[in-house]
């Protein structure tokens, strides 16, 4: 059946595309499908690999960009940020993806391999880390960085601890153990979470530190967001951290966190996008989101596409620039639909400036 049906359809599609090609010069292209500044159709194959966190967004962007530029084939493999950076350094990929910006020695290695001037960090979307919990009859929990650090250090062990109660005057908290859950796998989510605690709490930074995996002083490890969520939902009194998008998708109750201005902020896409509003961003766009105030949710981080200023042939460079530009300028609605926060106008301009520098050395 399918074979018989597909023939006339394929014919129509072919006729349609011929028609489009024939009228291409005269008809005004719709802005949604035509990348700006690229009238000529691009032809290139691009390979990217890295962070798993933005993978859903990148796959949708690639699919949507394909309809605009059918000549460009892009593959993104979600192998993890560590592998993404490594393969980018070794030039086995055209672009990398990473939830953590590259360290100085990684940049040196990448530049040595290419004889380039600069590695370009291009932030694409923001993610946030939500603190999810499971406590019967308790809704709208508020926490601050100090209590959160103490809970994960194991110095606050009961839900009705004075420090938690002080932040939640209206709630009656039970005399129950807090069952703390964290990630057991290496993860950008852990990195964002521990970077926040490390910055906010001196006890945390002296006892634990920050990174994609740390020596947890307390709590049980679950594999992935799914494992942590299972540990929370299966145990009354559970508390742990998961990606915001995961928490929203699965309807987990999440805590509001007190930011630097003393506002208790619920983690949402808007409050995540607002997190980067007040922070100062260095020229190389390698930044952490810390000391968040205003309406911003305090535990957030960016994810980056990695590219360099040389080493591409022109076709590849044009295609890569067009793709990232498309994602930054027209990919916001896709990102929001998938529960990722867009990076906002100010940062977007800086990101686009870095996109323009791709392959500037030829």
């Amino acid at each position: 059946m399918t074979r018989i049906d597909s023939r006339p359809l394929a014919g129509i599609a072919l006729a349609g595309s011929l028609l489009v090609a024939a009228c291409g010069g005269g008809a005004a292209p719709s802005p949604a499908t035509q990348p700006p500044g690229s009238m000529a159709h691009l032809e290139a194959t691009l390979l990217g690999a890295g962070a798993t966190f933005p993978d859903p967004v990148y796959q949708e962007w690639i699919g949507a960009f394909r309809t605009a530029e059918p000549g460009v084939r892009i593959t993104y493999e979600p192998i993890g940020s560590g592998g993404g950076v490594q393969q980018f350094i070794e030039q086995t990929t055209d672009f990398g993806g990473s939830d953590a910006f590259m360290k100085d020695d990684e940049i040196t290695a990448a530049l040595d391999a290419r004889a380039c001037d600069a590695v370009l960090h291009i932030p694409t979307v923001f993610g946030a880390v939500a603190v999810a919990y499971n406590l019967a009859g308790v809704d709208g929990l508020v926490l601050d960085s100090d209590t959160l650090a103490k809970i994960f250090l194991g110095t606050i062990t009961k839900w009705n601890d004075a420090a938690i109660q002080a932040l939640n005057a209206g709630l009656s908290l039970p005399d129950e153990d807090i069952i703390v859950a964290h990630r057991s796998d290496g993860s950008g989510t852990t990195s964002i979470f521990t970077t926040y605690l490390d910055h906010e709490s001196s006890d945390w930074s002296s006892q634990v530190g920050k990174g994609k995996e740390v020596s947890w002083p307390s709590g049980v490890g679950g594999q992935g967001n799914d494992g942590v969520a299972a540990a929370i939902s299966q145990n009354d009194g559970g508390l742990g951290y998961v990606e915001l998008s995961y928490a929203i998708e699965n309807g987990l109750p999440v805590a509001r966190l007190v930011n630097d201005d003393g506002n208790a902020i619920e983690p949402t896409l808007e409050s995540t996008a607002a997190a980067a509003d007040g922070i100062s961003i260095p020229d190389d766009l390698r930044f952490n989101i810390l000391d968040v105030g205003g309406d911003g949710y305090p535990i957030a981080g960016a994810t980056w596409i990695l590219a360099s200023t040389c080493g591409y042939d022109t076709a590849k460079a044009d295609a890569l620039k067009a793709f990232i530009r498309w994602g930054l300028e027209q990919g916001d609605s896709i990102a929001e639909e998938l529960l990722y926060a867009p990076i906002g106008d100010v940062l977007q301009q800086k990101a686009l400036a870095n996109v323009d520098r791709i392959n500037e050395q030829g």
Binding site: I79, G80, Q86, K103, G186, G188, K212, S215, G222, Q223
Partner: protein, 329 residues
């Protein structure tokens, strides 16, 4: 047509030159197979040990094996972190031992039921079902354990054990969300089909004459099983156990989902632990080059543990073989 004449004249194959050539080619082919195994093994041991060497030498073998601190660094060129395997070795041994302790008696019982109790109409489909268990991928066992078996079946058992036998250190509470007990029980289910299938074959191989002789002497079915079938199968049971243990030591995903990602040694089965294979699979993706070398060092350690256990098993089998030989003669 020619082939037909050849098959009608089997003596002709042996005497023809072509037959000798075929012999030689076959010999080389199988020898090449054997050599390939050795080559792959040598390559693997060589390259992993080479990668792991900087880690072993910077940490010191003894510290690496006995220490309990794992604090990975982020360097690309040198070893800056602290890498000690104690916590993970402990977790691997605990889950594997728990799995064997649970799976072995059950496997022997199932195998005896299949070979000596159930009739063929029950035994055949049941044996098939047991083998089917071996075909389920381990990630499915892990997810099933994570979302169903652990919270609904094992959690109440663990709570009960910790409340009644909590004074014994290995059963001490509290019961955390994921722990070596959950991992070990699911692991036991996973190795059950392997051990059962082998032990069943061994029981079936026990000569009917011996069974009938025992019956003729007035032995009950129970006595035949425990005094004739099981004792003469002991070396085979040990072998099957070692095969199951090998699988248990190396099992990765199911353990990673259920063991709880602990960072210290907990004597209690109900508190979070971590195994060697789970640590590797959990962290290699996001590790810096130096930490990847350390994970490879963990892999080499697991390999060494497996070799030691296998050699111990061979010794035991040989001993048992000698013993049963003496008993018979």
């Amino acid at each position: 047509m020619t082939s037909r004449t050849t098959t009608l004249n089997p003596g002709g194959i042996a005497s023809s030159g072509r037959g000798r050539l075929g012999d030689r080619a076959f010999r080389w082919a199988v020898a090449a197979g054997g050599i390939t195994v050795l080559l792959i093994l040598a390559l693997m041991i060589g390259s992993t040990t080479l990668d792991a060497l900087p880690v072993f030498s910077s940490q010191g073998i003894v510290d690496f094996l006995t220490g309990i601190t794992w604090d990975p660094g982020v360097s690309r060129t040198e070893i800056t972190g602290t890498y000690q395997a104690g916590v993970f070795m402990f977790g691997t041994l605990v889950t594997s031992l728990l799995a064997i302790t649970l799976a072995l008696p059950l496997s022997i019982a199932i195998a005896l039921f299949l070979s000596d109790v159930a009739g063929p109409r029950v035994a055949r489909p049941l044996a098939y079902l047991v083998e089917l268990l071996a075909a389920i991928p381990s990630v499915v066992y892990g997810l099933w354990g994570l979302h169903f078996f652990a919270p609904t079946v094992l959690k109440p058992v663990a709570k009960f054990l910790s409340e009644t036998l909590g004074f014994i250190p290995i059963f001490e509470g509290p019961v955390v969300a994921f722990n070596p007990f959950y991992a070990g029980v699911v692991l036991a289910i996973m190795i059950l089909p392997i051990i059962t299938a082998i032990v069943h074959e061994i029981f079936r191989a026990a000569p009917a004459a011996e069974r009938q002789a025992a019956y003729a002497l007035g032995a009950t079915r129970w006595e035949v099983m425990w005094q004739v079938v099981v004792p003469r199968s002991r070396p085979g049971i040990v072998g099957a156990t070692m095969l199951g243990l090998g699988r248990a030591l190396g099992e990765t995903i199911a353990i990673a989902l259920l063991i709880g990602g602990g960072t210290t040694i907990n004597i209690s089965l109900f508190q979070q632990g971590e195994s060697i294979a789970a640590k590797i699979v959990n962290t290699f993706q996001e590790s810096a080059p130096e930490a990847i070398d350390a994970l490879i060092a963990l892999g080499v350690t697991l390999f060494a543990i497996t070799i030691v256990i296998n050699m111990a098993a061979r010794l035991i089998v040989r001993r048992l073989g000698d013993l049963s030989g003496e008993a018979i003669s």
